[in-house]
Symmetry: C2
Subunit: 445 residues, 2 copies
C-alpha cells in the first residue's frame, strides 16, 4: 500500500465526528477555509504551494476494503459509518490561490465546499499537504531573493522528515525559484532539473586524491564537479590544476569544484586564484555546508567568488520555522456563517475573498479580506479549481507555477524583500466581514 | 508507485559516484557508519529509532524497469551503470543499536558492510530514515521524563512534514513512551493505540453547544470526550454537568473533557471544581494546544488537575531541533581504515563498537568508543541484525522496543533527566581508536 494516498491518514476525531454526523444526518453543505493565523518568526510573507497534491488526493480518495475491515475490527465504529465510508468519493468544490501566489495571515488560501462529513474527513491531510509545501516555498523564496541570479540547489533530502518531505521540498523550492535538486526521484516525478557532485567517501575510497578526481572525470566527462575539502582544500585545488591538462587532452573540462567546509568565503577566494592562475578560469565554484539565507547573504556581501550554492537541512526542514500556524476552520454550515471564538484563536466567519491592490509602480500595496457577497476592487486571489469533485482545468505545469512565483516575488514591496522587517504588510478586514462577525457572535450563545 | 520505497529516493551524486566505481571496478567491501556529530540544542541524549524501516528498505530495494528507463532517458548514465542497477539487491551486513537504545555523539548507531557501490547508493535514504525517527524519539523521551505516569498522546499529524513524517512520528513517540496517537493509519500500520476527541467545528456545526455534546455522546457512548473551549470553557463545563444526568439514564458517562486554549492550568482548576461539584468526579481532563515538554513541566509543577496531555506540532516537527547533525561516513575500504579530515568535520576511522559501563546503582556511568579489534569491558551496544542481506531474526514487536526504551530511560543518570543540563555524558575514545586515527592520518597525503 502507498500510505501517502490513504484516507486513514487522518486524526481519529474526524471519524468519531463523522459517526455522529452520519447518525444525526448532519450532511448539509459545510464551508471550510484554510488560512495562516500569524507569520512564523523571520517571515514577512508566505508563498502558496501544495495545491496540486491536494487536488490529486481529493480526486483519488477512497477507503479500501482492507481499511474498512480494519476499522470494523477496532470495534469503535458503527455500521452506519462504515457504510458511509464504503464507496465514498470527493464530490465537493474547491476554490484556492494558485501555487506561487504570495499571501499573508488571515487570508484564506483554500476553501472546501462539501457535505459536512466529507469536508471534515479530509481536514488532516489537507493541512498536512499545504502546511509543508507552503512553509518550504516561503523559506526557499527568502534565499532566492538574496541570491538574485545565482543558482541555488536543494541538497536536503537526507535530513528532510521522511520520503514525502524530501520530494515535496524539492518541488516547493523549485517552484519558489531554486534551479533544481539533488533528489533523483524528484527529477523523475516532477521533471525538476537534478544536480549532483561527489561525496567525501569517493575521495576516501581512493588512496590518492588525484586518482579519485581522475576516475570521477572519466566516469562523468560532461559533468565534472569535484569535491575538494576532504583533506586540504587549497592543496586539492592545486592537484586539479595539475590534472587538468591531461584531462583536456581527452576532451574533458573541469566544470566545477565544490567547497563544503571551513570559511567558505576565504576558501573560495584562494581557490579562485589557484584556478585562474592554473589556467582554469572557466571552472566554477559551488559552495555547500550548513547554508541558509543568512549565510548566503553574508557570502554574497563578502564578494566571495562563488558561482552557485547548495542548501540542505535549513531548507528542507525550514529549520528556523518548522511549521506554520495554519488552521482549517468551519466558516459556514447549512447556509449559516459561523466562527470559533476560543481565546487567542478567534476566526473570521463566512466565505471570503482576498483582493490585492497595487501601487503605481506595480508593486503590492495592500490586501483586503472581505465576504464573497461584498466584492472589493483589485485582483481576487482565490479561484475555483474543482467543482463536484472534478478539476476545472488540467493540472498546470510546475514551470508555469515557477514563473508565477518569480513574477510575484518581483512585485513584493522592498520592505518585504529583506530577511528581517519590522513593518508587516497591510491586510485589511473589510467592513462587510467585520459586520458579519458581529452578527454571528450575537446569534451564538 | 509508492515513492517511499524507491531506490531513486537518493542524491544524484550517489549515482555519479556509482558510475565511476563500476567502471573502475571499485567494488570491494566498504564499511560505513552512521553517527551523530554533536547533540542538538536542548538535548542531553539521543534515542535510536527507525532501524526497522531501514531493514525493510534494504530487504525490498530494487530498481524498477520504469526507473531504469527513466535513468537511461536522462542521458547521464552509461550502460555499465544501468546494467549494474538492474537486478541489484542488498547483499550486505548490518550491525546496529536496537531501537530504544539511548546513545550519544561519536557513537555509531549503525554500520553497513557491503560492496562499495551498494553501500554508497543507500546512504541518503538510510540517513533520511534514522535521522527523523531518532530525532522524534529523542524529543518525545523528554516529555515522557517530565510526565512520568501521566499519559501523553501524539496529535501532530497535520503539521508533520508529509505523510511519512506523520506516521513515523506516531511510531517513534510511542516507542519512546507515549500512550498512543491520533493518527488512524498509524494504528492500522503499527498497531499503536489510537485516541480521538472532537474538533471545534463539531460544536460550531450545531446551533447549540449542549446539543453538540449530546449528539457526540450518543454516537460514541463508550468514549465520550468533549471539547469545551469553543466559546467559553467554564460555561461549557456547566452545560456538561447539566447534561450528564440524562446521559447517565441512557447508560452513558462523560469520560473526559478537553481544554485546548487559554491558561490551561487555570481552566483545569476551575473545570475540575465544576465537574466535582456537579457530580462528575470521574470525568477526566485532557489538555492540548501548542504544548511541548516545557509547557508540560510548567503545568505539572502548577499542580493543574490534568489527567493526560496531547502534544502536536512541537513533537512531530521536533520544533526546537528539527534535524540531527548525523553523518554516514566511509570508515574502511578494501580492508583499509580511512577517515575524513575536513575542517570541523573529522571522523574516527575503522569499525567501532560502543561499550557502556554502569554505576553501582545500575545507572549509566560512561561509554567507551573503541575499535572492534580492541574490546572493552561493559555492554556492547551494536549487534548484528542482517547478514548477506537477510535479517538475523524476525522483526521485534514495537511494544518490545517500547519496553527497552522505558528501561533505558530508567537508567539515565539524574543529570540527563532534566530538560537542560550543562554536564554532558562522558563518552571516551579508547586509546586503540586514537592510535588508529593517527596511523590513518600518516598514510593519507
Amino acid at each position: 500500500m502507498n500510505p501517502c494516498s490513504s484516507v486513514l491518514l487522518t486524526d481519529l476525531y474526524q471519524l468519531t465526528m463523522l459517526q455522529a454526523y452520519v447518525e444525526q444526518e448532519m450532511t448539509e453543505t459545510a464551508v471550510f477555509e484554510l488560512f495562516v493565523r500569524r507569520l512564523p518568526p523571520h517571515r514577512s510573507f508566505l508563498m502558496a504551494a501544495g495545491l496540486e497534491q491536494v487536488l490529486a488526493f481529493l480526486e483519488q480518495m477512497q477507503v479500501s476494503q482492507a481499511e474498512l475491515a480494519w476499522l470494523e475490527s477496532t470495534g469503535r465504529f458503527h455500521s452506519t459509518l462504515l457504510r458511509y465510508l464504503e464507496g465514498l468519493r470527493f464530490t465537493g468544490d474547491v476554490q484556492a490561490m494558485q501555487e506561487g501566489t504570495i499571501f499573508f495571515p488571515h487570508e484564506p488560501m483554500l476553501r472546501i465546499v462539501a457535505p459536512l462529513p466529507l469536508a471534515q474527513l479530509i481536514e488532516t491531510r489537507i493541512i498536512n499537504l499545504l502546511n509543508f509545501q507552503t512553509m518550504i516555498a516561503s523559506k526557499a523564496a527568502r534565499s532566492v531573493l538574496v541570491a538574485g541570479e545565482t543558482p541555488l540547489i536543494d541538497f536536503g533530502l537526507r535530513r528532510a522528515h521522511g520520503a514525502e518531505a524530501g520530494l515535496f521540498a524539492a518541488r516547493a523550492s523549485y517552484l519558489a525559484g531554486f534551479a533544481g535538486t539533488a533528489t533523483v526521484l524528484a527529477g523523475m516525478e516532477y521533471d525538476i532539473p537534478i544536480y549532483g557532485t561527489m561525496a567525501h567517501s569517493f575521495v576516501q575510497a581512493h588512496t590518492d586524491e588525484t586518482a579519485a578526481f581522475e576516475h570521477f572525470a572519466l566516469a562523468q566527462p560532461e559533468n565534472v564537479i569535484l569535491l575538494i575539502d576532504t583533506y586540504d582544500t587549497e592543496a586539492a585545488a592545486h592537484k586539479i590544476v595539475n590534472l587538468a591538462p591531461s584531462l583536456k587532452q581527452q576532451g574533458i573540462l573541469v566544470k566545477e569544484v565544490r567547497l563544503d567546509s571551513g570559511d567558505l568565503a576565504d576558501h573560495a577566494k584562494k581557490v579562485r586564484r589557484i584556478l585562474d592562475e592554473g589556467g582554469l578560469p572557466h571552472t566554477q565554484i559551488l559552495a555547500s555546508g550548513n547554508l541558509d539565507e543568512y549565510q548566503l547573504q553574508r557570502l554574497i556581501a563578502s564578494d566571495a567568488p562563488i558561482d552557485s550554492f547548495a542548501i540542505g537541512t535549513a531548507l528542507t526542514t525550514s529549520a528556523d520555522a518548522p511549521s506554520l500556524d495554519c488552521a482549517y476552520k468551519l466558516q459556514e454550515y447549512a447556509g449559516r456563517p459561523c466562527r470559533k471564538r476560543s481565546e487567542g484563536k478567534a476566526t473570521w466567519p463566512g466565505r471570503k475573498q482576498v483582493y490585492r491592490q497595487y501601487r503605481q509602480d506595480g508593486r503590492f500595496d495592500h490586501d483586503i479580506v472581505t465576504t464573497v457577497q461584498a466584492p472589493e476592487t483589485g485582483d481576487p486571489l482565490l479561484h475555483p479549481v474543482m467543482t463536484g469533485g472534478r478539476r476545472l482545468a488540467t493540472a498546470p505545469q510546475l514551470t508555469e507555477m515557477r514563473e508565477r512565483a518569480a513574477a510575484q516575488l518581483a512585485l513584493l514591496p522592498d520592505l518585504l524583500r529583506t530577511l528581517e522587517t519590522d513593518r508587516p504588510y497591510d491586510v485589511q478586514i473589510a467592513q462587510s466581514l467585520q459586520d458579519l462577525a458581529r452578527t454571528v457572535d450575537q446569534c451564538v450563545p
